[in-house]
């Protein structure tokens, strides 16, 4: 049997640092069963038979917060052999408040007073021996950050655990309280002697959750009431008061502080950082830096490298030869534009160039045919016109005349091979393809491995570099203490929608990509705020949704300036409305969310801790979210690529024949009330699940038969105008902005929710909400523009009425924690 040791302490007491120092790399990170609270376990360095469990950071053992219930249930049910209680030496009184509660559990406890280096620097003195006497347990001085005293603390706690003697708390409350507690203790049966005091106090406090842990609950209401009347306070407050009164009395003897109200460095920083006038500008600057580095520059560059390089065609090592290649590549595309134009002109003049053109497109130019053609062209005095298109507007930007000699030089330009320039590293798919070809792998399997599996893995790993950059920032902001200030500064705005001030970061990152956005919600402690943030973050238009906006704006609204801003407005409005509606639903109204938060002192985190936190989060994304992303990518690859063509089932070349197209045909009528009941639009929306920008590509295939379109799809704008009206296009846009995000984001949601039920609830809510809003836009828009009135209009009005009801119905914050904890 391994020795079990629980590490307990307040948030910001250096608990994580101590845990890392004790266990090294020997850690297992997961979640407590069924809840989003993180659970960490590790083996003590050099002791294979000692397992340390890192309990959530808590201030008390009350029944009101998830973390506290998880911690106390673990302590009671698992009954660890010893507790290592870490205390912030610069904040003794409040930290010891938890200690008084831990000591009542009858489990041997060692107190480690952390940050002793800071205490000594401030010329404060803690009488450790006396403190140990008063509390009735060994006390050691440590500095987790500097690695001082950690071995001694570990040795002491292991020794105590091996000894296995139950301990009794030595602290006493006021006499009248002690009398009642003794009376209650006498009534308790079926509990170990050393645990009786804990249960007596909990029963006195009328702790609802503790009754679930007792076989028979004694009747104590009468004596509790009597005491309450005598002391003119409720029983919970009596106990809390008693604890702090007791602590004040012992700290008087054990702690001498020389620094009377002197401003510390942290106070000085805070005077500027949360200053009335400077706080918001500083906050804005910090956010700009986070966004600029993790989304705009480093993060995107790294992600592009993984997507286009490692999982694309390949890449130039350290960029050597990259610029040279780009130059040649530009030259080639310029030349092929001219060649195409000249061929077009020849065709228009009635010269047959089909065979010649085909040979040129294949890269095996037929020289004799070319010579013949050139003679013919010269005789006809043929000139062409190359039209350079502007990708922004889809209009002709420049017309270049192509004479015969221009054509002659243009047609000779060969497509450059990137491998000829600099140091070329082939991509993983290319390497695997070579390998598979070498072993004569069957076509369908090769296709499955390359497009399905490798593509799926690429889709997962593509997010990782950007995410690591973001997590690095988050870890730094959290451990230096600024994250708590963000909640302090932004609370006023966000709490109205059931969100936390810390929800700002996930939403900001969400404008770049929803996947790291959802993952960033990990910094929010409160369970309800976190779930709400996870559910609403992807409403914000992310980078991949911009092409859809550009397509709709360009095709149906002549590129009107207001379409893009309106998309962001719709996203923000969706968050606000959802926040207010959801916080009143049964799913959310259950949990109290008091915002009484410590603002920890600023301090510089260690590089090791920040890197470890970054890596842990990144790895958990790969592991937990990766599976879902991979499986769903493979599934959609199959639906998209396979179907019945030419009377037999197999790989299809035309998307029109795929299984997905058939599914699109079946579900299309569902979208008729939204104004786009056409199967092509339905299929496009489904392919958006792989990645939102795929919507544009799918339209390109379905409307124009084009394999490749510009990002805003200008090639198919005309075709779009035939199929959509302004209203139906806008409804389509809104639906795609708000409905279920891409698989990668769904995977991230699953990871963060840590529950299949909550994931389905989130995705279901998003889809239904998107459907309802799009329907209202289309139906009411039709009513106001054309006066069309039908069943759809009635339903739309009903939806509006329902949303208004959900927004304005009365709501009372609950006072109890209703979440079931299974530990």
């Amino acid at each position: 049997m391994p020795i079990k040791i629980a590490l307990a302490g307040n948030p910001n007491s250096g608990k994580t640092t101590l845990f890392n120092a004790l266990t090294g790399s020997n850690q297992f990170v997961g979640n407590w069963p069924g809840v989003t609270v993180e659970k960490k376990e590790g083996k003590l360095k050099g002791h294979k038979d000692v397992v340390i469990t890192d309990l959530p950071g808590i201030y008390s053992l009350s029944p009101y917060t998830l973390e506290e219930v998880v911690a106390r249930n673990y302590l009671i049910h698992e009954h660890p052999d010893a507790i290592l209680n870490i205390i912030d030496g610069t904040n003794l009184e409040r930290n010891l408040y938890l200690t008084t509660q831990l000591l009542e559990l009858g489990i041997p406890t060692v107190i480690a007073i952390n940050m002793m280096d800071v205490v000594k620097k401030n010329h404060d003195v803690i009488d450790v021996a006396r403190l140990g006497q008063e509390l009735g347990c060994p006390v050691v001085e440590i500095s987790a950050l500097k690695g001082i005293g950690i071995q001694e603390a570990a040795k002491k706690v292991v020794f105590l655990a091996q000894e296995g003697l139950p301990t009794a708390p030595v602290h006493k409350f006021a006499e009248e309280v002690e009398n009642v507690l003794t009376q209650i203790e006498e009534k308790i049966t079926g509990v170990k002697e050393e645990e009786k005091r804990f249960f007596a106090i909990k029963l006195f406090e009328r702790d609802e959750k503790i009754k679930e842990l007792l076989d028979c609950v004694p009747e104590v209401e009468d004596i509790v009431k009597e005491t309450e009347e005598k002391m003119d306070d409720d029983s919970e407050s009596i106990i809390t008061n008693e604890r702090y009164t007791y602590l004040s009395s012992i700290i008087e003897h054990c702690y001498v502080t020389k620094s009377k109200r002197k401003l510390t460095v942290s106070d000085k920083i805070d005077r500027i950082v949360t200053n009335r006038w400077l706080a918001l500008p500083i906050f804005a600057i910090v956010m700009v830096i986070v966004y600029y580095v993790s989304v705009t520059t480093v993060g995107t560059m790294a992600t592009d490298w993984v997507n286009d390089g490692v999982f694309g065609d390949g890449w130039h090592l350290f960029g050597i030869g990259s610029s040279e290649y780009t130059e040649k590549s530009d030259e080639f595309s310029d030349a092929s534009l001219k060649t195409e134009a000249y061929f077009d002109a020849a065709e228009a003049a009635g010269i047959d160039v089909e065979a010649l053109r085909a040979s040129w497109e294949d890269g095996e130019l037929d020289e004799t045919a070319l010579a013949a053609f050139e003679t013919e062209a010269q005789a006809a005095g043929l000139t062409g016109e190359a039209e350079v298109m502007d990708d922004e507007t889809g209009e002709v930007a420049e017309t270049i005349p192509v004479a015969l000699q221009d054509f002659e030089s243009a047609v000779a330009v060969r497509e450059p091979d990137p491998a000829d320039y600099g140091v070329w590293v082939p991509s993983i798919p290319v390497l695997i393809e070579d390998g598979l070809t070498a072993i004569n792998c069957v076509d369908w399997l090769q296709d499955l491995i390359l497009s399905g599996i490798v593509g799926g893995v690429g889709a997962v790993l593509g997010f990782v570099p950007q995410m690591l950059v973001l997590f690095l920032f988050l870890a730094f902001l959290e451990s230096c203490g600024y994250m708590a200030r963000i909640a302090f500064i932004m609370d006023r705005i966000f709490r109205k929608f059931g969100l936390s001030g810390k929800s700002f970061i996930p939403m900001l990152i969400g404008t770049g990509c929803g996947v790291p956005g959802v993952m960033a919600s990990r910094t929010i402690e409160n369970d309800r705020d976190r779930k709400m943030t996870i559910m609403t973050t992807t409403f914000i238009p992310c980078g991949a949704k911009l092409p859809i906006i550009a397509l709709i704006a360009g095709a149906l609204f002549q590129g009107a300036w207001w379409v893009a801003p309106s998309a962001y407005f719709v996203g923000v409005a969706a968050i606000v409305l959802s926040g207010i509606m959801l916080k009143k639903t049964k799913m959310f109204a259950g949990d109290p969310a008091p915002f009484v938060m410590e603002l920890p002192a600023y301090h510089l985190p260690t590089v090791g801790n920040v890197l470890r936190s970054m890596w842990e989060r990144g790895w958990s994304f790969i592991k937990k979210a990766g599976t879902i992303i991979l499986l769903s990518t493979i599934l959609l690859w199959f639906l998209q690529g396979y179907g019945v063509e030419n009377g037999s089932f197999g790989r299809v070349t035309d998307l029109n024949n795929s299984i997905l197209a058939a599914i699109g045909g079946v579900i299309a009528p569902l979208f008729a009330p939204l104004g786009w009941g056409d199967w092509k639009a339905a299929v496009a929306a489904v392919t958006g699940l792989i990645a939102k920008e795929n919507v544009v590509g799918t339209f390109g295939v379905l409307y124009g038969g084009l394999d490749e379109v510009a990002e805003n799809g200008w090639q198919i704008w005309d075709a779009m105008r035939m199929e959509f009206t302004m209203l139906s296009a806008y409804s389509f846009l809104v639906f795609n902005l708000l409905c279920a995000p891409c698989f990668a984001a769904i995977g991230a949601i699953r990871r963060e929710m840590n529950s299949a039920k909550w994931t389905w609830f989130a995705i279901g809510y998003q889809c239904i909400f998107a459907y309802a809003v799009s329907m209202c836009i289309y139906q009411l828009g039709m009513l106001f523009t054309t006066g069309a009135f039908g069943i759809g209009t009635v339903v739309a009005f009903l939806i509006v009425a329902l949303i208004l009801y959900l927004l304005f119905r009365p709501y009372h914050e609950k006072n109890k924690l209703t979440v079931k904890v299974r530990v």
Partner: protein, 74 residues
């Protein structure tokens, strides 16, 4: 009845009694705001809420709505 919400910025007040019940009250007390303790009102957030107070040697932030439950005297 004077509450923590009404207390002036930069002043130090003493807690007389805590009103309300359940989760919020327990949390406030767990964090060390109990009868007789001295609270220094340090700061108001840039948007007017929450407030930052110093208590038992550390910094705590709480919303004005919750501060209203804390009866104080100068």
């Amino acid at each position: 009845m004077k509450t923590l919400k009404d207390a002036k910025l930069g002043s130090t007040v003493t807690v007389v009694k805590l009103h309300g019940e359940g989760a919020v009250k327990r949390r406030i007390m767990d964090m060390g705001i109990t009868k007789g303790v001295q609270v220094f009102i340090r700061k108001v957030a840039p948007l007017g809420d929450p407030v930052e107070v110093n208590i038992r040697g550390y910094e705590l932030s709480l919303r004005k709505a919750d501060a209203q439950m804390i009866e104080v005297t100068d």
